[in-house]
Symmetry: C2
Subunit: 391 residues, 2 copies
Amino acid sequence: MRKVAIVGVGHTPFSFLAEKTVVELFSEAAMEAIISSDLKAKDIKAMFVGNVLGDFSEGQGMVQSFAADEIGAKNIPASRFEGACASGTMAIRDAFMWVASGFYDIVIAGGVDTTSKMGTALGTRTFAMFTDSHYEYPSGLTFPGAFGMLCHLYSVKYGVPLAKLKRQMALVSVQSHKYGQYNKLGQLHNEVTVDEVLSSAMVTSPLQLYDCCPFSDGAAAIVLASEEAARKLTDEPVYITGVGQASSGRYSSQKEYLPRLRARDISVKQAYDMAGIKPEDVDICELHDCFSIASIIAVESLGFAEFGHGGELWENGEADIRGRIPINMSGGLKSKGHPIGATGASQVCDIVKQMRGAVEAQRQVEDVKIGLTDTLGGDGIICNLVLEKGW
Amino acid sequence: MRKVAIVGVGHTPFSFLAEKTVVELFSEAAMEAIISSDLKAKDIKAMFVGNVLGDFSEGQGMVQSFAADEIGAKNIPASRFEGACASGTMAIRDAFMWVASGFYDIVIAGGVDTTSKMGTALGTRTFAMFTDSHYEYPSGLTFPGAFGMLCHLYSVKYGVPLAKLKRQMALVSVQSHKYGQYNKLGQLHNEVTVDEVLSSAMVTSPLQLYDCCPFSDGAAAIVLASEEAARKLTDEPVYITGVGQASSGRYSSQKEYLPRLRARDISVKQAYDMAGIKPEDVDICELHDCFSIASIIAVESLGFAEFGHGGELWENGEADIRGRIPINMSGGLKSKGHPIGATGASQVCDIVKQMRGAVEAQRQVEDVKIGLTDTLGGDGIICNLVLEKGW
């Protein structure tokens, strides 16, 4: 298989109640990615779009087909991917294969959603469709509820007192806002303190308001090209050297693993093995912090901390900008926002910009050569990508 | 790229108001495909599922992840594809690439929907999301409306008097029911006459009830394998030798082509060129007859008739079982039913069975070596597959 490079990236602002539609938002991100790749829309041979709720938020299905037409990439194959919050990464992983195989030289992939248009309450209920709707949801389970239960399970299983865990979780949110405030494309630009997190409104015990990411609208896209095509277009290609994906089914079917997600263990191993790297080789990571506890659970399976010790990365500054493994320097889902289908693509965009030294100075990590993205969808689809600086 | 074969197929009954859920239906089709391939679920390395409305009909998103878990294909990558009615074919085309590239040896692909659970009125309104929801749908456009207008346009553009066109359309439905009555897995088992079609209830002028396919519930799946793996599993591999996909955007953006769909011209050319065949080489075709007029429009772009002369295939018996190009011997969407995400996969299943001499005697075409599937999604995603008998 051929090497596949990211040539250009595009990213709309993430916001609450965007005025634009899903088709318009994705088109905006796509055109930025295409123009910054020194290409025209007609050079794009296929489109891969993660979109979860365009049909629910705007009554618009099949957004990819309309977006391809909108940007002038007439008649190209355009596919929509849905794996809940992992949809954008799923679309990129799939686009990777169509280029790696030699079928296409230049394609575009990314994601979009306008989830905030449903409001937080309806959005939360709607999004509960990505649990098992016949056994889990009727018991009252929504995703805040599920992650609340994972907190309690984590505390018991690893013997971390809940008060200590909650302080670690607060530190996760504090760091996300600390860097997210500088991300011009992010949604929230306020700093928060540990005390503010711990005194914010209770959402679902023990998760409080500042443990939870917001609903957001936005889009992100990247242009992928074969190595040969990429070298003609940019001096700064970022290679996708590892891809991983796995699924878990409903929570009850993975109860012997929880709070650890079996799909993440498998997915990230695929990505690391394919790239030929180990966790300690990773210079930066954007991971799926839909809730603060999710970050702590994630870093353990990603190999950055022992199981039961994830929170210490934030206590010790190891996840900070000059730490061992800087995490979510974009602000993460918590501060940058979480337009569901766009999130995975946004993670990729930010790591590419980090490698190019192109993010705001206050959140720029020095000398990023290898990056990892981690996206979690619903009850347990995980997608991981390893990105490597190519110059 | 490697050759890719279909090893086994699975197909639930298509019905109105199935008792099973989307996850259960897809699992049933998947297990039949796996068992008939002499495999176990653990041999399947990835799953690709077309599903359009699981979230609307049952409040179940991400059906693929739960289905993979349900059948015991634990933790495999499972992706959902949405391109309206073309979703199932889109999933198969994508699965093809993951095997052709050498990444996976054995995967499963297919589709499922339980559209009828919404009822015809709500289903029609919901499905209108696959037109442009900001410009087209608010004008009152649903898909019966769109195809009704295409009838009038066809009549005017090609100078076929509407009365003549309506009789040709009726012949399409008559033939679909003629063969569909024998398809044990189909939804409708009654024969209809031209007079019955032309005296059935008016839906949207000039489309009458028997010009329209029903809403249906059901699933279909196929196991795809590399040539090497397939040869160990079956003496009757069916190769996918050509794939095509294209999109059109909203109807208004393709108005210079209509009633011809530009995406179909492009998609089928990709598939024919890749397979190295011409339309006259095709022995059997399953095409997207969501409305009777859709069949007439389709055969022209597929190269089976001159533009403006599609209906003559049914007038002259050329589309019949012993004709030049037997079409929709399964009963098509009209008689077999149309569980949206499953339709493309169902087309593939039926052609594989035709090649294996495994369909009901009354609808078995002799000596099928090359088959073509054609699936249309929403405002204009088209997917085509060329299948070739490998023994």
